[in-house]
Symmetry: C2
Subunit: 227 residues, 2 copies
DNA sequence: TCAAAAGTGTTCTCCCTACACCCATGG
DNA sequence: CCATGGGTGTAGGGAGAACACTTTTGA
């Protein structure tokens, strides 16, 4: 038992992990709760913060424990503090956001109950996780202007139309194919690979790779992707 | 005494209140700590969260108690969770940001120990409040593109050169006077007032007022101030 | 009448936008 | 040979950046 002179809330972390593929579009990683409250409902991976870890560390640990996935970087995007958001006791949560390649997440051992859901078909969520998701989506839309989110979500090599589909999925708009291509290529962040994909049903598109070097240069000078 | 099965951190809120005037430039509101730890040091107004209030409410309450100022809106911008950030016990803080007219803050009764400091001349701060300030300044720079921060910080009527000086102070850059004026006026957010200021040492400039109506319209359609 | 700030307009360039044609591939 | 998607180019308009002259005022 732990006693304090004044009441203390419990503190948890939650991770909104976004992934993407052509079939399902933008998706989030959810785990099914095995215990009450909200037993059986889906929720973001997360859990109680330990006393000897900061929130970033705790979020990464819980994510690993519940999904088997070791994220390289997560971004804190909000604290949720409504008084009654957890029926057991006062719990505030610190929410994190990460972008991952779906393929990297496969094979989590403890991840029996972890599953991807398209953001357009998310089941009812536990606690106030629907609000957390809404804010996460907003933040993702903002970040897309400053951060090459496409390159974190897509496989290492990708085509221009895949990249465009991703941007359209996140922002919920449509772009002109030719203008999107020229704008992207002008940035210089894309490196054509010599290879071509083999599974093409139609004309074979060029494959690109993200140029990290160039991105670091651009970040130095403070850039912005306009869309 | 309050007992829990697992250890809980304490949770506080802190408010970074930005103000602005021509003499001092961009400033922050600080209070001097009356008790240990860090007794005598300056810190952001804030304090422990109560169990029956969410963090926004708690932040506004603490701000009022410590500075006498009733803010109309505050923006949560980060949680600080380093394990050793408070020497007494594990404390995490949720940080808020607000923009106010300096004049509105005068006259807080309890505010004996509240003072404005130019951001360029901030004294040593308690806890990790220097880190909180750094992040707040970054967020302010980001928000300036989506939110008419000038109009929240300046008096109700102001001149174009005052507005420009504010933008230059926040972003740390210089603009061409003529381009700044035409860009601002083109937005349609500025309403010329008939009046002219009397204290001019030189040629008397036009006074403007912020057009809230127009701003709401622009917000609907999702706009961005480019600078 | 001079110094200092205010007001105003033009030109050039670049980028965004809209849009059309041809090419490669598999069925 | 045709449907589907990939690749490329151009013309027009608008916005930003650079820049100079005139006006008002108090000293």
């Amino acid at each position: 038992m732990y006693t304090y002179q004044y009441p203390h809330p419990a503190v948890t972390t939650d991770c909104v992990i976004f992934g993407y593929d052509l079939r399902e579009g933008l998706s989030v990683l959810l785990v099914q709760r095995g215990i009450d409250p909200f037993k059986g409902r889906w929720a973001f991976p997360g859990g109680f913060l330990k006393m000897d870890e900061d929130a970033d560390t705790g979020a990464l640990r819980e994510l690993k424990e519940e999904t088997g996935f070791e994220a390289s970087s997560i971004t804190q995007f909000g604290a949720f503090t409504a008084v009654d958001r957890d029926p057991r006791e006062r719990v505030i949560t610190i929410a994190y956001l990460a972008l991952v390649r779906k393929g990297d997440v496969q094979g989590g051992d403890d991840a029996a109950d972890a599953r991807w859901f398209p953001v357009t078909a998310v089941p009812p969520l536990a606690f106030d996780h629907d609000r957390i998701l809404r804010l996460a989506l907003e933040r993702l839309k903002e970040q897309i202007h400053f951060r090459p989110v496409g390159f974190e979500l897509l496989p290492e090599v990708f085509t221009l139309s895949q990249l465009q589909a991703l941007y359209e999925a996140i922002l919920g708009v449509r772009f002109d194919r030719r203008n999107f291509a020229s704008k992207m290529l002008k940035l210089g962040l894309l490196q054509p690979t010599g290879d071509r994909p083999t599974d093409a049903a139609r004309r074979i598109p060029q494959l690109y790779r993200f140029n990290l070097q160039k991105y670091d240069d651009l970040k130095q000078s403070g850039f912005r992707l306009e869309f």
